[in-house]
């Protein structure tokens, strides 16, 4: 049997890129926020302050690894690992360029959704195992939020699936050769973007960790690299959602002149920046507002979008 080394290479490349990118995003986010707030951000360590990434990682790794005596120890340790693991696994189905994919599943989108929704366990377990009322509240909030937004997240991208006629991500990208789905599926894109932000618990939907009311919520009790894992998990999530947006609505690697992988990277990066801009600009809603938005506005809109898309597709057939 001939050993096929290619998937292993792809895995290695993907891991390298994603992990480094997520670490680098700490720096990117701080610099961008500073830019939009008329500051400099970290600019002292190394050229452009890039050394900050290294400094931060050294700091996180060398900090005291403290497990509170009142915490449920195994769960407390497990929780941060889950978020990183599930987010990383999701990248298995992401096609970076034609043929450059770890597993080109025919149910790629479903896998993506399944994996990313597993991430909520991490938050819930972290909140629960910390044995701290603020953490627990954060965990519960995360679970409720995830439940509400997962529903129309799936529905919002079904429009693209209908247009492409496949759950396979490669097929969806290929189907956008003529026209990016963002044009016919603009509502779907907006809905997916909002759901994506909520899914990654990024501002303005970071109610699970809301500093002002829950003093960092589910990760109040975390420190050192365990805290760092939540951080990294969050950034991987951001990359994943950005990648998904560019795949589903902006034609993935498609684009003139430049190599496909670069197009994909540019598009993904754009949405990452958009995530950061959202954080820089928007205030956090109340939790009840978040929930009623999800159920009373987003879900009906997603259903309407699905209905209309379905009707149009049927009518044109």
């Amino acid at each position: 049997m001939r050993l096929n080394l290619f998937p292993l290479l792809v895995i290695a490349v993907v891991l390298f890129v994603v992990l480094n990118l997520s670490a680098g995003l700490i720096w990117v986010e701080r610099r961008l926020l500073a830019l939009w707030q008329d500051r400099y951000g970290p600019n002292r360590v190394g050229p452009f302050g890039l050394g900050q990434i290294l400094a931060d990682s050294i700091k996180l790794f060398t900090k005291e690894d403290w497990i509170p005596p009142f915490a449920d120890k195994p769960v407390f340790i497990l929780a941060p690992a889950i978020v990183v693991a599930t987010s990383l696994i999701s990248f298995a189905v992401v096609p970076f360029a034609p043929g450059f994919v770890i597993a080109d599943l025919n149910i790629g989108i479903l896998f993506l959704l399944a994996m990313s929704s597993l991430g909520v366990y991490s938050v819930v377990l972290a909140g629960w195992s910390s044995n701290n009322k603020y953490s627990l509240l954060g965990g519960i909030r995360a679970a409720a939020q995830m439940m509400s937004y997962e529903v129309f997240m799936g529905l919002s991208l079904l429009g693209s699936v209908i247009l492409a006629g496949s759950f396979r991500l490669t097929d969806i990208v290929e189907a956008q050769r003529g026209l990016w789905f963002v044009v016919p599926q603009f509502l779907g894109f907006i809905l997916f973007l909002i759901a994506g932000v909520a899914e990654t618990r990024r501002l303005p939907f970071d109610l699970a960790e809301a500093e002002s009311e829950l003093i960092a919520g589910f990760h109040s009790e975390y420190s050192g690299m365990k805290f760092g894992m939540f951080f990294v998990g969050e950034y991987i999530g951001v990359i994943l959602v950005s990648a998904a947006i560019s795949l589903l609505f902006f034609g993935g690697w498609l684009g003139p002149v430049l190599p496909p992988a670069l197009w994909f990277a540019v598009k993904t990066m754009f949405f990452i920046c958009l995530f950061i801009l959202l954080r820089a600009a928007l205030p956090r809603p109340r939790f009840d507002q978040l929930m009623s938005w999800g159920w009373k506005v987003m879900l009906p809109l997603a259903l309407v979008n699905l209905l209309v898309t379905g009707a149009v597709v049927l009518a044109r057939r």
Binding site: L35, W36, Q37, D38, R39, Y40, L277, L278, A280, A281, L282
Partner: protein
């Protein structure tokens, strides 16, 4: 919804705005002479120690970081035997300066007093004393006070009449 988009745009526009950060160690900020920084003890225009150890700065201090002991020279001029400020506690509120009746204690526009060891933040009189009168070049408490000190007898202060001769009954 539109307002959200507008605020996104407003924030995005700041990409091209000037940055307001002052790059501190290279660029110095301007500190006014009335800035409340490192505390000093000044001397009167004659070069004498201004502090008369009245304890008012110590009692005004909200964090009680000033302690001193009064003593007197052989001519009755009062001064602090020791004068200590624990800058690790100081909040630079300037109450001590407000309370000082002799303009001895003054806050200066110097805020660069970082130390690696907290113990080094305990300043004694030798660390606090400067050679000049600081912000108030003319005032000398002893020229106004009614007590006699070396070089200034009773009746020689400002606005004082010569001492009463109690053995005379002249009106």
């Amino acid at each position: 919804m539109l307002s959200l988009v507008r605020s996104l745009w407003e924030v995005f526009r700041h990409t091209f705005a000037r940055r307001v950060t002052v790059q501190y160690p290279e660029q110095k900020a301007y500190l006014s002479p009335r800035y409340r920084g490192r505390i000093v003890l000044t001397r009167d225009p004659d070069g004498g120690e201004r502090c008369v150890a009245c304890n008012l700065c110590a009692v005004a201090c909200p964090v009680a970081c000033i302690s001193l002991q009064a003593t007197e020279d052989e001519h009755g001029r009062r001064y602090p035997e020791f004068f200590r400020i624990n800058f690790s506690r100081c909040i630079f509120c300037g109450y001590c300066e407000e309370a000082c009746p002799t303009y001895a204690i003054q806050l200066t526009p110097d805020c660069e007093m970082g130390e690696y060891k907290r113990q080094n933040l305990v300043y004694e009189k030798t660390d606090l004393m400067i050679d000049g009168p600081g912000k108030y070049p003319d005032y000398n408490f002893w020229r106004v006070a009614g007590v006699a000190i070396g070089g200034k007898d009773k009746g020689q202060a400002e606005n004082e009449l010569p001492p009463v001769d109690t053995h005379s009954l002249m009106p």
